[in-house]
């Protein structure tokens, strides 16, 4: 439903928050003789986290910072996300999250919005596969007020009838609007091919699931999913640790769990049969190409190696697929590939949007790059460059207090320890070219990738034939 308005840029890359990854040039150009060398790197800064567990099980982590006059909060509730949605209710967690701030026992939706504005901040929730994250921020002087508002939204949402009906009506229209975007349709089909029947594979809402939603059902889901012993509160910014912990105690200390905790999700299949789908989109001026296969859980042994492999192969301006398909061939505005990891499983995905005439040629280049990463060791210089890149990205991303909080909460939701962030760069330095090649061979094997192509069958159908039989799916 969001409108992205970042056109006219060199690439639609988010330069901000996340631990982004990127790679290197194929035919490594000679560096100019005059180019000044890099200076000496400063010692790595590791975030100091003050950790407390309240008697009700809620974990509270505080990272004080002397940055801008703002305090950031993330309340992460594990197991409350899309993974907990029933097979007939895909995407429910999204609506559950969205409606948390649409009214509580004592505040209307409007009062919540106005209160947040008065604090110079905001409060809102979003669902991911492994949890729901409520994020909030406020000017430093209003940290206590925002903590109270956050607790109200998390603990006492009312799901007022009128708000639920409005959210349903808008979600139905929103689903129609999203369905017009080729990327949205491709993502849904690719998730199905990668995860099969697993909950990770059906995270997009359906018309039937939205229609079936009730306020009562949402209240029941909230009670079932939200509990202090499955939650983490991260506070970052201009506040000291003792004060922040005290505020957390006041707002969340009497929060009690009810009933049994939800069971952990089972892991999705480690391999899946290859699918080839052509989602018809008559009149499309590009082919939206996506490929993928099952990936690695976040706590997998080769997690750091997978991230490095993804960087080399497919994230950022100078990754192999982008250099090849964009900078050398001019097929696309941007090409990417890499792994995404969740608590009990993950996905390897890649893709580019290309003009119709080069559909087959672009697919060929993808398969070539996927094969190469698993069969040829990455040259030492390319390894070193990407390690430096990822170490730098760590420093840049932790510059932002909000991003630091989100990374800590995100890691916790997927089962990574609190010190993963601080230990990431040293672990990265130890990854060898042989390990990258092994990860490449296992996860980027071109013969195991499913293909999803959204486009005009008349224009591109012939070019797909070389890649096997494609099942045609009507809009």
């Amino acid at each position: 439903m969001k409108t992205r308005l970042s056109p006219i840029t060199r690439a639609g890359l988010a330069l901000s928050a996340t631990l982004a990854l990127a790679g290197t040039a194929l035919a490594a150009p000679e560096l100019p003789a005059e180019l000044p060398p890099f200076g000496k790197d400063k010692p790595l800064v590791v975030p100091k986290i003050t950790q407390t567990t309240l008697p009700n099980g809620l974990q509270v982590w505080v990272v004080p910072r002397n940055g801008i006059p703002r305090v950031d909060f993330v309340l992460a509730v594990r197991g409350a996300g899309l993974g907990a949605d029933a097979p007939d209710a895909p995407g429910r967690a999204k609506l559950l999250a969205g409606l948390l701030s649409e009214g509580t026992a004592t505040r209307s939706s409007r009062q919540i919005a106005e209160a947040a504005q008065a604090m110079g901040g905001g409060v809102g929730a979003a669902a991911s596969n492994d949890g729901i994250r409520i994020s909030a921020n406020a000017l430093a002087s209003r940290a206590g007020d925002m903590m109270q508002l956050l607790a109200d939204v998390a603990r006492r949402p009312a799901f007022p009838e009128g708000e639920v009906q409005l959210a349903k009506a808008n979600a139905l229209q929103g689903l129609k609007a999203s369905g017009a975007q080729p990327g949205f349709r491709a993502a849904k089909a690719l998730d199905g091919a990668i995860y099969g029947d697993h909950a990770y594979g059906r995270t997009q809402e359906t018309e039937a699931a939205i229609t079936a939603l009730t306020a009562e059902g949402l209240r029941a889901e909230h009670a079932r999913r939200f509990r202090p012993d499955h939650a983490l509160l991260v506070i970052t910014g201009r506040i000291d640790a003792a004060k922040a912990t005290q505020l957390a105690r006041e707002a969340f200390g009497d929060w009690k769990a009810t009933g049994e905790p939800l069971p952990e999700l089972a892991a999705p299949p480690a391999t899946m049969p290859v699918q080839r789908l052509l989602l018809e989109r008559p009149g499309s001026v590009q082919a939206t190409l996506r490929l993928g296969r099952p990936g690695m859980a976040a706590s997998g042994d080769e997690q750091v190696a997978l991230r490095l492999t993804s960087a080399i192969l497919g994230t950022g301006f100078s990754s192999r697929v982008n250099i090849n398909l964009r900078e050398e061939k001019g097929y696309t505005y941007g090409a990417r590939a890499g792994g995404v990891s969740w608590r009990v499983g993950g996905a390897i995905t890649g893709g580019a949007d290309v003009r119709n005439e080069v559909t087959g040629a672009a697919m060929t280049e993808y398969l070539k790059e996927y094969r190469r990463i698993g069969t040829e060791p990455v040259p030492e210089a390319e390894m070193a460059m990407n390690k430096r890149y990822m170490a730098g990205s760590y420093l840049v991303s932790t510059q932002l207090q909000g991003s630091l909080g989100q990374q800590l909460a995100g890691n916790w939701l997927v089962g990574l320890p609190a010190d993963f962030l601080g230990k990431f760069v040293p672990a990265l330095q130890k990854v060898t070219a042989a390990e990258v090649q092994a990860v490449g061979k296992k996860y980027f094997n071109p013969d195991e990738q499913s293909w999803v192509v959204v486009g005009d069958a008349e224009k591109i159908g012939e070019q797909l034939k070389a890649f096997g039989e494609f099942k045609v799916v009507k809009p």
């Binding site: 290197t24 560096l31 200076g39 000496k40 919005a113 002087s141 420093l395």
Partner: protein, 473 residues
């Protein structure tokens, strides 16, 4: 209070380093208001070749953000070369005689950094961020491409292809196709500089040649037409010395005579209905011409924009999405930049997807009602205070990342001739009164000054026409 000085006048001021603030204060403040104030250190110096250099030190992270802003954008591209300013921006990454294609990205990646560029109506910016150990190398690269480019037919062809794919993926293959920023400008403005499609026509893009590239670089990419800004792990003395070392020898180059692209407010409403082959849900864009940069109406408009469309507490969200339940969402924007980052005719645009059960006239009627209420009653003290708090917080939020801090300072210097506007905006916002908001709403948010595009799914437009035809004998 808002200065209207143009950059030509301010150039004279820039000769000396202006240390305007002493930097952020971390001392535990007694009063809440003080706890929420934050000043950005701004040090400015102009090199002999006309390059303005800004340094904003912050030792809290061992990283830097760099922005080089050139005072040229889509307004100044040649007449039969729509989209050229943006195509040129792509070519800035395609190599130089000393650093051939591939070197730029390789060096910044190896330095642990990221880079990007973007083209707007009044400026083009080039940004990179990395650990401070890569500062020298990044500055060398920026200076190298300011000096000259590798004017090369192969890279031109490659980026013509890439830009066409960018337009396909962002415009032609998407529902709504960017009508809320491309087509609305074509409707609302009169002068070619302001109204043409800055993404460009494929014909114009394909016609671009190496002579165009050379001329554009020569005319608009000299040091005297640029601002270099560095924020983060750098001291003013160090930053100025590095700027002199890498950029000091680039000669100034004459810039073309300024064009007058100003135009007044519109005097009659402009309406257009468009058919969208890909969209499934109708949408509307309503836009009003904004006050000029530096006008006393600019800060009140910032407050007005927040009141009307700034998030979930806003009048239009509460009145159109909630309340009347007509729209699925309401978003607003100031051109493709922000209320403080333009220097020529620019639009305040509302964009909404609306329910098929209503129509554009009902939506516009509801917007008019909300505007009329502001014109009549103004805004109460408590709400006004909240709006100012929200604007202040947003202003700080956008300055948190070193990269964005450097970029904002560079843009303010380029557009206002004064990077220290960064520390003046909070005061300007603070001084806005309810009467100011009323005046500005009555002056700019008029029907006469409004341009509207109603964008409907093709099937929706076809349906009533078919029904009408069928009902005729």
């Amino acid at each position: 209070m808002i200065q209207t000085t143009r950059r030509a006048v301010l150039g004279a001021l820039g000769a000396a380093a202006l240390a305007l603030t002493s930097g952020p204060s971390f001392a535990a403040p007694a009063a809440a208001a003080r706890a929420d104030r934050w000043d950005v250190p701004v040090h400015v110096k102009k090199l002999d070749n006309g390059l303005t250099v800004i340094i904003s030190p912050d030792p809290s992270s061992p990283t830097v953000g760099i922005s080089v802003v050139y005072k040229v954008g889509m307004r100044l591209e040649p007449r039969n070369r729509t989209g050229f300013a943006h195509l040129f921006e792509h070519l800035m990454f395609q190599g130089t005689p000393k650093a051939p294609k591939g070197v730029f990205d390789k060096v910044i990646t190896s330095g642990g950094g990221n880079n990007n560029g973007s083209t707007r109506a009044d400026f083009t910016n080039y940004i990179e961020t990395a650990p401070s150990s890569a500062l020298d190398a990044m500055l060398w690269l920026e200076a190298d491409r300011m000096t000259t480019l590798d004017f090369n037919a192969a890279t031109l062809k490659n980026q013509q292809d890439v830009v066409k794919e960018e337009i396909r993926v962002n415009v032609q293959n998407q529902p709504y196709g960017g009508f809320m920023w491309i087509d609305i400008g074509g409707l609302a403005f009169d002068k070619w500089e302001n109204k043409h499609d800055g993404y460009g026509s494929f014909v114009d893009l394909e016609n671009a040649n190496l002579d165009d590239v050379r001329a554009f670089h020569r005319d608009f990419y000299g040091p005297n037409n640029a601002v270099l800004s560095i924020a983060g792990d750098v001291t003013p003395a160090q930053g100025f010395a590095l700027a002199q070392k890498y950029f000091g020898k680039i000669p100034a180059r004459p810039t073309p005579k300024p064009t007058d692209f100003s135009e007044g407010l519109n005097t009659a409403e402009r309406r257009l209905t468009q058919s969208d082959k890909l969209a499934q849900v109708p949408a509307i864009a309503a836009a009003w011409k904004l006050p000029e940069r530096g006008s006393r109406d600019q800060a009140p408009f910032a407050v007005l924009g927040q009141l009307l469309a700034g998030g979930d507490a806003s009048r239009l969200y509460q009145g159109l999405v909630k309340g009347r339940e007509l729209a699925l969402n309401v978003s607003s924007f100031y051109g493709l930049t922000s209320i403080w980052e333009y220097d020529g005719p620019t639009l305040f645009t509302l964009f909404a997807l609306y329910k098929p059960t209503t129509n554009a006239d009902v939506l516009l009627g509801a917007i008019d009602e909300e505007v009329a209420r502001i014109v009549k009653d103004g805004v109460d003290d408590a709400t006004l205070k909240n709006l100012k708090t929200a604007l202040l917080a947003d202003w700080y939020n956008d300055l948190e990342m070193f990269l964005r801090r450097a970029d904002r300072l560079a843009k303010l210097q380029a557009l206002w001739g004064d990077a220290s506007v960064v520390n003046k905006v909070p005061g300007w916002i603070e001084s806005v009164t309810s009467a100011d908001v009323q005046r500005v709403a009555a002056t700019y948010l008029t029907r006469a000054n409004r341009s509207v595009i109603d964008r409907k799914p093709a099937a929706m437009l076809a349906a009533p026409a078919a029904a009408k035809a069928a009902s005729q004998p």
